[in-house]
Symmetry: C2
Subunit: 119 residues, 2 copies
Amino acid sequence: MTIERFANLPAPPYYAVIFSSQRPADSDNDGYGPMAEYLDAKVRQQPGFLGVESTRDTEGFGITVAYFDSEEAIAAWRRDAEHATARERGRKAWYEHFELRIAKVERAYGKARQHGTDE
Amino acid sequence: MTIERFANLPAPPYYAVIFSSQRPADSDNDGYGPMAEYLDAKVRQQPGFLGVESTRDTEGFGITVAYFDSEEAIAAWRRDAEHATARERGRKAWYEHFELRIAKVERAYGKARQHGTDE
């Protein structure tokens, strides 16, 4: 089921790292895929990590939103050495452009059609 | 250029509406496309609207983040009659599942490779 694409989060407040990025058109075999998968697995082990949602269209434009329980958890993930190395590589090669925004989630709503009610 | 996919935002603080959704696999010709385009054009006219970024992958999982200058602007957009009608239709038919989160953006960073510097 596609339900696993959604982060299963506690009630707000919590924090969101909103990352939008444009991958180059000629981006096959540049090492991005394996590193992205590795970091996705690693961030899930990060203390304070709550969940992540991510998607990218056929034009290479993607949005990933990672959720954490505190700003401290975000700062700790930012200090992770492998994550820092990947960020540097991303800055130089993997992304034509990106935007990163840190936000405090104050309210949340959801809907699953299979249940027919708000969650 | 792909740069138009990114919202050109002022310095924080501002507000984000983070909408993640799963479209059904059998979703051709259900009226979603024209309504989504219409509402995208309309929200850009909304007072307090700052920008929007949106993407959806080939599995139908999408994330849209719309930015506004205040919670009042979000509330006003929520009261828009056509938007409300579309939300009801989305709830019943267009989405298998969705999650909506309202957040206050506190910090932001960006990078454009073509300029080689942070923005």
